[in-house]
Symmetry: C2
Subunit: 302 residues, 2 copies
């Protein structure tokens, strides 16, 4: 699929998003299962209108490695389950205490704290079941499956996302350095973004050179994505964002614009995206979607 | 190992416990890792003096299937990580709001709620990493590994433990039936106990007949274990239990003694243990530890 123009990329992303929505609908157990309350809470947050960036990156990673994106949909859904669980737990009163996410009441506001904690736990566990169950991706070699599960576990766990979330709770004075911000975001958001691309390629038997290129690409766009987020919080249009701006400063969050200024943040983001495009230089036109996504991250308005 | 007398069983359990402690110490990342706060919280709860019933059942399942118990230690540790995460989240203010567990302050009392939630998340994720990482149990066939991960995921997830926890939050009037109690406990505690035995045997290449026998055994002792718990809360010695008794009634929890009376609960438990012993009839002396554990569950004082 060509992604030369912005329109093409928009089309590509919405087609991919539709694939992911359909797969989530099919692969995540419905509310007719007992206890219904749990499945309602899981699905409420899972279908709350996310961008599906991680699953789309997984499909694009598969494509870049020469595979069939549709064949990795269960893994793509598992990645979205892990992302959604992390948002549910992040929004809890003991954590960020958010009442709204994407303009909708957060899981604990609708279902109560206990159910929200358990819905997050269930989504995390279900992700690994989706990855491991041989009925999904039946032609996948078991050794590849095992390696992907281990990679995703590492990215989501204490050395990845969860570790980054704990670092994010450190007192502001301990984190005024760019190196701290980098280390925290590499784990908090970067690790899962990186592993999404890499898992897609691994699942399709991507060769070591391709995996290495995609890993570096994923690391760079992961960090660029976070810098873009920080910039949008300062300069974004609240209407397009679906939430107010300036929240980071009010919450005393340390951000890239706060630490290095707005212009330097923009330059850093552009350099990361350039580097990510360079990472893909050895890959053919099947990596075009990844190239488009890298630019999209830098230019997004919400 | 013979477990004919009570002394032998005590020896067996404490030797097995020592194996598990040593493996946990070795396999769970230390506090020198960053962020130290997270690893401290994980290890605080993991080394808070549990009975290690699930990992010991995993080792005993391996032995009953003719395997080397030491070879399944990483999986045994993963099961204990999942158990510990469930206790940490269960104790949270939004859930059971417990200040003490086994006489020690609960994770959130020591580290705060946010860190406790994340320590639970990290332990759950780390469990799957332990199971999947090919550096652990290196000679295990990948297909077996994948099947075990899927089984454990199912037992821990919305159709197993987490689902049971949500059922446990249902209002007392909806749950005065033995059938509801059975269904809830089969998921809340039974599923993980069952899968602990079964995983041990699967990892050692146990044949389908053995797996089936151990699955039935595990289901029965899982339920017997819960009935024993409920009985101990009524009749136990607070000194031996390390906590007060009568807590279930004060919390308005529906228990087996409350629903069917103390004597009928004792009979039900004895019948389940008898059934579990019958399940093992086709197995040789290598299933002796499992026989001992079944009796131990019925006779335990704490």
């Amino acid at each position: 699929m060509k992604t030369g123009s912005e329109d093409n990329l928009e089309n590509y992303l919405s087609q991919r998003r539709a694939l992911v929505e359909e797969a989530l609908e099919r692969l995540i157990p419905g509310e007719e299962n007992a206890p219904s309350l749990l499945f309602r809470a899981m699905r409420y947050s899972l279908f709350a209108g996310g961008k599906r960036l991680r699953p789309i990156l997984c499909l694009a990673g598969a494509e870049a490695a020469g595979g069939d994106p549709a064949s990795v949909l269960p893994a793509a859904c598992a990645l979205e389950c892990i992302h959604t669980y992390s948002l549910i737990h992040d929004d809890l009163p003991a954590m960020d205490d958010d009442d709204l996410r994407r303009g909708k009441p957060t899981c604990h506001k609708v279902f109560g704290e206990a159910t929200a904690i358990l819905a997050g736990d269930a989504l995390l566990t279900q992700a690994f079941t989706l990855l491991a169950d041989p009925r999904h991706m039946p032609s996948l070699p078991p050794l590849t499956r095992v390696k992907v599960i281990a990679e995703i576990g590492k990215a989501a766990g204490p050395f990845g996302m969860v570790g980054g979330q704990v670092m994010d709770m450190a007192p502001p004075e301990g984190r005024g350095e760019v190196s701290f911000l980098d280390a925290m975001h590499r784990r908090k958001t970067g690790a899962m973004i990186r592993v999404s691309v890499v898992a897609g390629a691994m699942l399709c038997g991507g060769d070591p050179m391709t995996i290495k290129a995609l890993s570096s690409y994923g690391e760079r766009i992961g960090l660029a994505f976070q810098i873009a987020d920080d910039i949008l919080d300062v300069t974004g249009d609240p209407g397009e964002l679906g939430k107010g701006t300036g929240g980071d400063r009010r919450l005393g969050k340390v951000t890239y614009p706060a630490v290095m200024g707005l212009e330097a943040s923009r330059r850093r983001m552009a350099d990361l995206v350039d580097g990510a495009l360079t990472d893909l230089e050895g890959l053919d036109e099947r990596a075009h979607p990844l190239r488009g996504i890298a630019k999209f991250i830098m230019e997004r308005k919400s």
